[in-house]
Symmetry: C2
Subunit: 189 residues, 2 copies
DNA sequence: TGCCCCATGTAAAAAGTTACATGATTCG
DNA sequence: CGAATCATGTAACTTTTTACATGGGGCA
């Protein structure tokens, strides 16, 4: 039941349509959670019937009409309750880790290729997060911004996203280097 | 459908019972995946009917009997197929991140407390992973072990787990420091 | 004597993924 | 002219979580 809270948190600063929300959750720009469009449309509907968000129709001539959603007082109260409750620890769940775990018994070439691919993906995401952070803090430096800025929440979660992707990248590159080195050693005899 | 592959990967080196497997997956010692006991018992049953693992009954007098599972040839082939297929990117999904995202609008004290708690948890896990790594590499240094050791798969995934938890800890401590500083600033002015 | 560990599950509910559906507009 | 974007969903399926069930042995 955390998707609803993720949606509420995402709508806290901006009024968004389901479509816009979906884009954020999909690309991982909303890097504190991930969800598919269908989930979001369904969740927004549920949240609206429960009075936690309100939608207003925006009629567009050139584009299809859309509904923009805002968090209500009840929605904010619900987020407050959620925030006060204790959170469970989070776990990694990643196909690639499973493959690496098995790398001694299976085709290492395939794993090597996927490590390289993932490293590139992680690097791209890290760069995206980096530029988002620069945009958020403007001309202030980070220390200054975190001391006195408003809206530090999204900044902090983006920092975690950045570190996570940098960690991914570094680990993938390290793993790839190890596998390459071992392949080379086998080739030498 | 990755749980089955996680189970196969976990059983690759050791023969384990459902209970033992559950403990690993629960404490996150099998830090490349996480699953509840019920899932594992169900998955083991399924894997056995599909011939991907075989169980052998071990009769115990003082303890209840148990069934130890091993990966079959078909199981290894299935892992091989899985490894060759392309993996999807992984996303963070964490309650605490949602709470931090909302921290500007909700009670920051609760978030601060949870950041501290999580930092401690992450630190404990990082230490556990650190000692697991030391055990795995024995008296060799890491470079040496990764070059010439066998079973580097579990070592590499454990390295990722370690970096992840260190990242968690550092980020939590940073976030907590920021929130404290802002509280102090508010109190002053 | 009460609580934790061993050991294995079933059943139901919630959450997440995959597949499919529709239709206009803008861009290369 | 075909593909991508805007915009919103429904339906079926898979996966994960929560709650419940059972029963002996060891330990404080």
């Amino acid at each position: 039941m955390a998707l609803r809270h993720a949606v509420l948190a995402a709508l806290l600063h901006e009024e968004l349509s389901g479509y816009q929300l979906a884009k954020k959750f999909d690309t991982g720009v909303a890097n504190f959670w991930h969800a598919l469009p269908q989930q979001l449309y369904a969740e927004l509907t549920r949240l609206e019937t429960e009075g936690l968000v309100t939608g207003r129709e925006v009629v567009q001539d050139t584009r299809p009409n859309k509904r923009l959603f805002t968090v209500t007082g009840a929605g904010l109260a619900e987020l407050e309750r959620f925030t006060a409750a204790t959170a469970k620890p989070s776990f990694i769940r990643d196909d690639l880790l499973v493959k690496v775990q098995a790398v001694d018994q299976v085709n290492a070439e395939a794993v090597l290729a996927q490590l390289r691919e993932r490293a590139a993906f992680a690097e791209a995401k890290a760069e995206l997060f980096g530029s988002l952070l620069r945009t958020m803090r403007g001309d202030r430096d980070e220390e200054e911004f975190l001391r006195h800025g408003d809206r530090i929440g999204p900044y902090l979660t983006c920092l975690r996203g950045l570190a996570f992707e940098e960690g991914n990248r570094d680990w993938c590159l390290r793993g790839a280097a190890v596998l390459e080195e071992r392949r080379a050693a086998r080739a030498r005899g």
